[in-house]
Point group: C2
Chain length 333, copies 2
Amino acid sequence: MSKLRTFAAVLIAVALSAWNAAAIAQTDPLPSWNDGKSKQAILDFVAKVTREGGPDFVKPAERVATFDNDGTLWAEQPVYFQLLFAFDEVKRMVAEKPALKSNEPYRSVLARDLKALAAGGNKGLMQVMALTHSGMATDAFNASVDKWLTSARHPTKQRPYTEMVYQPQLELLTYLRANGFKTFIVSGGGVEFMRVFAEKAYGIPPEQVVGSSGVVKFRLDAGGKPELFKESKIEFVDDGPGKPVGINRFIGRRPILAFGNSDGDLQMLQYTTGGSGPRLALIVHHTDAEREWAYDRTSHIGKLDKALDEGKAKGWTIVDMKADWKTVFPAGR
Amino acid sequence: MSKLRTFAAVLIAVALSAWNAAAIAQTDPLPSWNDGKSKQAILDFVAKVTREGGPDFVKPAERVATFDNDGTLWAEQPVYFQLLFAFDEVKRMVAEKPALKSNEPYRSVLARDLKALAAGGNKGLMQVMALTHSGMATDAFNASVDKWLTSARHPTKQRPYTEMVYQPQLELLTYLRANGFKTFIVSGGGVEFMRVFAEKAYGIPPEQVVGSSGVVKFRLDAGGKPELFKESKIEFVDDGPGKPVGINRFIGRRPILAFGNSDGDLQMLQYTTGGSGPRLALIVHHTDAEREWAYDRTSHIGKLDKALDEGKAKGWTIVDMKADWKTVFPAGR
């Protein structure tokens, strides 16, 4: 029996040493990030909040990381993809109800005449959103989004939208989760729209997606089956000052890491860094006209102006897409 | 080396056999539940949804279980505990601002004259809730709740409120989580109130608590620090038809198991059982006047009438507290 014990001890020692060697020789967790200040800031932050006994240690339950979606986890040009979904839905719906065809704003949408659509102010856009995002059960809406995602292609990049996500961010999400973080989306986009793909695309389950929403009503359908019916009234806009409000409402805990890309993320970044203890605020700066797009202070989509100034003044990590990202999009499948 | 291999094989075989023996002799996961139909329904349901390859297998990501709080996870008599918190807060606030003392509805609250308070209809109650639940930052409110929970005692049971939770339900929550379920609270109670104790009391983190809420505004305090300020306007009532709406908004996935105790849970139970595949709906029936309270169809608090009829008709599991629970409250500390 004592011989067996000795052998057991040897076996355990061998196993442990192999384990340690593996840990030391571990591969780069962020291979699509170029070495530099941004990558280092992430690695340093994760190291210090996970170092047990260290002065900056944060319990796993409090390792909340929030990410904007449009322009932070996936692209947002030439316009938010949810709007492109709405335009495609108008086309599909007009095929079913040809009477809509000659009515504005649908006529402009079908003609891809965004100028005419915009000329009507927000009203035309709201009508398009109401037509395509309400008047149906949540299950039916989710099925439409799912169908669109599997068939539609981005107008200039010709990729499925689920491949318009950023490879470096996928690695970051995985790296954070491997270090005990819970990762959330906090986006101005529609919460139900995002939930259809967030789990498959980012590994973020529906209950960790915070977004804008319309009023939903519980009712029994014609057959007496309970369903949730989407109404056209807007209920919550998860943008700007709405983001910390949404974080409070849905998550109930202040993030220690937040990642955005536009002025709509400013208050989320302020709220995150306003807590005590270690905090990391990051901004994607779209500087890469060749591989993606280059835009900031004057862009209609993803305008980054005030948050860029405040971020620079406060030492937030400004991620320069062109310099910091080795690759932008994942390899096509 | 071959000798070492032989010993390793022996060690592994020994370890595996010990493991299997432990699994077979595993202790009852629900020791505070008496053997009977209710307990068996739970055990059978969990067994079938976790049996890989079985016809009723449910992926862990979809094992969503939702629990009402008041009357389901902790007691709710003589009135909802959040209201008792509000009454105690009035007392504390009056000590700070004596001018409030002679004003209604505060005078009635201080005199514990619930009849006079109720005579004013909802208005008096809303004023009490507004005084104690708004006009402050979320952090300050959370601190008040936390302080109250550590000092206040239930008026008749003389226990701290955090020990007014149900021992059988604590075991059920643990058992579900051990079987890959994600457990959520879906309650008419205030979401911020519940989040203060849900993690410690039930092991449910803030982001898995769905409840009623008031409007919250993001702002910078006098020193320029970001804070969330609680306003008195009600924003969302997570009760009755609001429960499936809240589930859709916060969780984004239909539960496969839901547990309630009153007519306010009816729509949550309908929505849960309305999905395809295996579903389990449970109702706590308060039948134990000796150890807890006995009430149902005519109670002002936790009225159980329509849901009891529908539950019986549809074969939902009606948990008879007196018969099904070996113990009600956890042993005092």
